[in-house]
Symmetry: none
Subunit: 431 residues, 2 copies
């Protein structure tokens, strides 16, 4: 048996997908699994239940890739075409499998139901293919070699597909690939960056690569590449290349540029980093939020187990709430305004007077679209982070973007300010 | 200009998709929309950021379908290939668009940042294509006729893609399809539904259509169709069909089934509905949140202008916070537990004692994954909505799903409970 070409094509069959009735989660699951198995996906196609389109796609897929995974179309109804189309494209007969039929009969008998005769087609498999048992539903999958490729058919429901792939298909791929997983892949270095615009990261990556390639331990040309992804609260990136040293040098270049608080190794969230640090230190936190309006609390409590480190928050949106809940003096609000270092500081001070936590973080700012002025434009944010023992950091940020972005970026800055304070660092490292 | 063939191909470009780092939700959104616009999707393809694969796929797509929609690849980085590949495949030059550049400069200037030179490529559009303005992010989309087909390029982030498609591309498709908007397509009736599972909505739509078609004013066969879309806090749907009467009858059927609070006309958010009602009545609201951990406050303050109706919130996550901030008696917590009608009621009572608002809403529940029991499983939620004048509604919900879903669905239920109370309705209408 020849070695499989190191690429995959996915075919997801079902008019419920192309018409947008059902969200396709297979591409994400299979894309991630196949990539780490060393068969990156080069094309992933959704098709309606149309035998001609399906047949043409399958033919093209088998010619193009080492692994072809078909999802869906294995049910008992007339829409379910996968068995027939695979048989036709590969020139095989459909063969009735008595043991599959026995299993189906047993499942129905156990639940006291009569098996419909239409289900008989589920016991048919193209000749030469092997059965993949379904431990959750009725439709078995199947797999077989077709020329140079491996063709796998899996049932559509994620609850059936995912365990079948992990338990039965992964070992087949590893065996058929003729080598240990990961051997041929080359390494990767994943990282996260906070409070840095995507274009600035890209610029730094390109300049960093030039610096590394020009350096004394230059990797082979083209040896360094990357992918970046913008998420709500961070940009994650993956550095790729033939040698670990080049990746490490590029990472070190980036960290020199953005500092160790804003650039981290691994896919990490600012809220998760604060959570971990608090947990390690046996510390708890509370928030006083104005412009973020509950977002800090929401982001921290998104994480299961956050009750271990989170006491609560005061969302003091109206000035009256700042006064009555946090004891911010009316004179402070009148004299300096709600968005000022004095108010931020008074908020964190008042917060720690009512919250029994070691750390308190206060955020006040102008999220927009209204409320900005020449002196205090939209995006002006003051953050005060305070320890029960008395230490305080209070800093100004001018956060770019619209209302959503100002709120999200302020929350990220607040998490990092708390980390700064707990680690005893200068908040100037936040750029 | 010839009429467009009635089919679509979707191309989603991005290695983050094929590697399974990001879940692709575009196929669902666009599949549903294009189907109801009369351009059903015959193929939807995900591709890595590889110009050769992308070019070949685009060429095939333009030969195969009336409408080709490309998503992603419009950012400022070297991964972002859509502009270049469209130009190359269609044999056009890339033309620098000063007005796009001006807009970008303006966006950066407004936030006090320097625009990186790499962003300049975002101002390039293939010759003969027209710009689709991005009101949310920096990357504009574009569209143009290519032979017999219409080629549309949209930015990858769903928050940018979806409004751009609905506001700018739908009218183009209707116009290019060679007919007045709505003429062949029939009119539309948009709606939103809350706290109803998708499968139940689909069932009700099908049964409703049968009832309408069997009724005395039956529309022409096939005259009634719909698209649905699942959002964070609601499902939105669009009823389409040749005659207004049929759409209205179907809508009335749905409203009879789900009640007037859970089923609304138009694309509406539960937080927005409460906001509007409060504004109309000149009322303000405050929240006491436990399991939702700031999400209620976050959702209300997502909306510009929310300071008009929102005083603030107390996120009392730890029991100590419930006692110290809201005055929930320790005996109540000890005797009935933090998730109980007694605690929910004491939270809203304590909230209105410190918050100067007309309405107070308290939520306490078990979001999971830990903390459930046989008696109080994960998803058990108690909500108390209270008026300053004294009236209170307190109700139990058993919310299905994982941690995120329990939190989001609890927030939706809380907004609707407040509406129930303000409108003097029985919360039994919430199902």
């Amino acid at each position: 048996v020849s070695e499989l070409p190191r690429s995959s094509v996915l075919l997801a069959v079902g008019t419920e997908l192309t018409e947008g009735v059902v969200l396709n989660t297979h591409f994400r699951f299979l894309g991630s699994e196949l990539k780490s198995l060393g068969f990156p996906v080069v094309r992933a196609v959704q098709l309606p239940d149309e035998p001609a389109l399906f047949g043409a796609e399958l033919r093209a897929a088998l010619a193009a890739a080492g692994v072809v995974v078909i999802t869906g179309g294995l049910g008992p109804t007339s829409d379910d075409l996968t068995r027939e189309v695979v048989a036709q494209v590969t020139g095989r007969k459909l063969v009735f499998q008595p043991q599959v039929w026995e299993t189906l009969l047993g499942m129905y008998a156990a639940s006291g139901r009569q098996i419909p005769q239409t289900n008989r087609k589920q016991a048919q498999i193209p000749e030469g293919f092997r059965i993949l048992q379904n431990v959750v539903g009725t439709a078995p999958g199947f797999w077989g070699r077709v020329g140079a490729s491996l063709c796998v058919a899996l049932p559509g429901p994620p609850a059936e597909l995912e365990p079948m792939f992990l338990r039965l298909v992964v070992p087949v791929l590893e065996a058929q690939a003729g080598q240990a997983p990961g051997e041929q892949l080359g390494g990767e270095l994943p990282g996260s960056v906070f409070m840095v615009p995507e274009s600035l990261l890209e610029e730094a990556l390109q300049q960093g690569r030039q610096a590394v390639v020009a350096g004394p331990s230059a990797p082979a040309e083209g040896g360094l590449s990357w992918g970046t992804r913008v998420a709500e609260d961070r940009i994650t990136f993956t550095l790729r290349g033939a040698e670990a040293q080049g990746r490490e040098e590029l990472f070190a270049y980036l960290q020199g540029r953005f500092g160790p608080l804003r650039l981290r190794r691994g896919d990490l969230r600012p809220s998760g980093l604060l959570f971990e640090l608090l947990r390690q230190r046996g510390e708890t936190v509370s928030f006083a939020e104005s412009c973020t309006g509950g977002l800090l609390a929401k982001m921290l409590t998104d994480m299961p187990g956050s009750s271990e480190v989170f006491w609560g928050a005061v969302v003091a949106y109206a000035n009256a709430a700042k006064t009555s809940l946090l004891g911010v003096p009316e004179a402070t609000l009148a004299e300096h305004g709600a968005v000022s270092p004095q108010t931020a500081s008074a908020m964190s001070y008042g917060l720690l007077r009512c919250a029994g936590t070691g750390v308190g973080v206060a955020v006040t700012g102008i999220a927009g679209p209204e409320g900005g002025s020449a002196e205090k434009p939209v995006g002006t944010v003051w953050i005060s982070a305070r320890l029960r023992e008395g230490a305080e950091l209070c800093r100004h940020f001018l956060v770019p973007g619209g209302r959503d972005q100002v709120r999200r970026r302020s929350a990220v800055a607040a998490f990092l300010m708390a980390e700064c304070l707990l680690r005893g660092q200068d908040p100037a490292v936040l750029g």
